[in-house]
Symmetry: C2
DNA sequence: GTATAAAAAATGAACGTTCATTCTTTTTTT
DNA sequence: AAAAAAAGAATGAACGTTCATTTTTTATAC
């Protein structure tokens, strides 16, 4: 137990260090030596936990993505109405993106650069399935616009990524009012009529 | 003339090569030697045109950003009504983002990573001034929601970046109908009432 | 509990490679 | 023939990864 515990701590420290450094410097400007230093570990030790640098960043991506979607769907259940379900999910996503900025910023960087390899990227997308199913249901019930998931995502979810980045850079502060407003805009842009 | 012409050609070739390679590999995974090769130039020659690699990518960013905003505002004039002006600008932005994918993708990557240094990033933002002024006017006239420019941008413009990236990755194809729909959603989410 | 040996985990130094940049020479332009 | 532009080769630093050892943990015997 003690042994396993310790290993998990180190693994977590490595992932956290990776996220932090990649956020500030980008993937290729983050040397393994710095990751090791921040995680208080020898560079060689990283290779006991991960195959190589690419594997480290892929795993970091997938873990953060999982944490994100787990959080997003934690209070949602398929019995909810489409509009309630969407509101619940949207607000959880907003919460995550604006409060767990470090993780959210890392995901944004992963999604906007060639940093993550294609298989891991594909794997990451799968985690959004519950949202896509909700949208499908909404389309069948005539509540949500019959347009592609990409368009729905672009209108309703993606604006949150932009706001998160701006807030993270200190360009603006998003308050509760803003979020209420943003939620309404999101719902208005995907609901039918 | 011949000499100057030749120089500008080489400079352009270097910028284009940078954009292309950075899009596919990221900034730090794009060696000067490859940029030189793609531009059909010796690595040493790059340093006759740019101070160093950072300078090269900063200048590439600023030039693409200029091209983008020039295109966005080319058919807009301040005499137009707020709603007409917005429609004109929005559709030009959409046009640029979805047709000049290479440039647009490069900008997205610059805006979402620590690749560009802070002064150049600040400089790049200035180019959006006409849009911000239009929004100011709209707010004063009671046509546009009295919320921060960041929120307006997040709702109305940023979704286009997401769609561009998805289309570029081959995940989806955006057609004229989609764009008409997206425009309406954009306007609905920022207009007052 | 304590001593001991085998196994596992962790380390710092070293290796080979790659890269941004510079240097020296050659080619082109004036 | 002088000056400017361009080139390829060279340089030194930084990087990802591996190697040879050392330290820590685990398992076993008393």
């Amino acid at each position: 137990m003690a042994k396993l515990q310790k290993s998990i701590d180190k693994r977590n420290a490595l992932i956290r260090a990776t996220i932090n450094l990649v956020n500030n410097n980008g993937f290729h400007a983050t040397p393994m030596s710095k990751i090791a230093k921040m995680a208080k570990v020898s560079p060689a030790t990283i290779y006991l936990y991960f195959e190589n640098k690419q594997d480290l960043v892929n795993k970091a991506y997938l873990e953060v993505k999982s944490a994100f979607t787990d959080y997003a769907f934690a209070t949602y259940s398929e019995e909810m109405s489409v509009s309630t379900g969407f509101e619940i999910i949207w607000k959880r996503i907003a919460d995550f993106k604006l409060k767990q900025c470090e993780e959210a910023l890392f995901l944004a960087q992963c999604d906007n650069t060639p940093m993550i390899d294609e298989p891991s990227r594909k794997e990451g997308i799968k985690h959004l399935q519950p949202l896509l199913e909700l949208w499908d249901r909404g389309k069948k019930e005539g509540i949500i616009k019959p347009i592609s998931d990409y368009l729905l995502y672009a209108y309703a979810i993606n604006p949150l990524s932009f706001l998160m980045i701006m807030q993270q850079r200190g360009a603006c502060a998003i308050d509760k009012m803003d979020l209420e407003e943003a939620y309404r805009a999101a719902w208005d842009s995907i609901k039918l009529d």
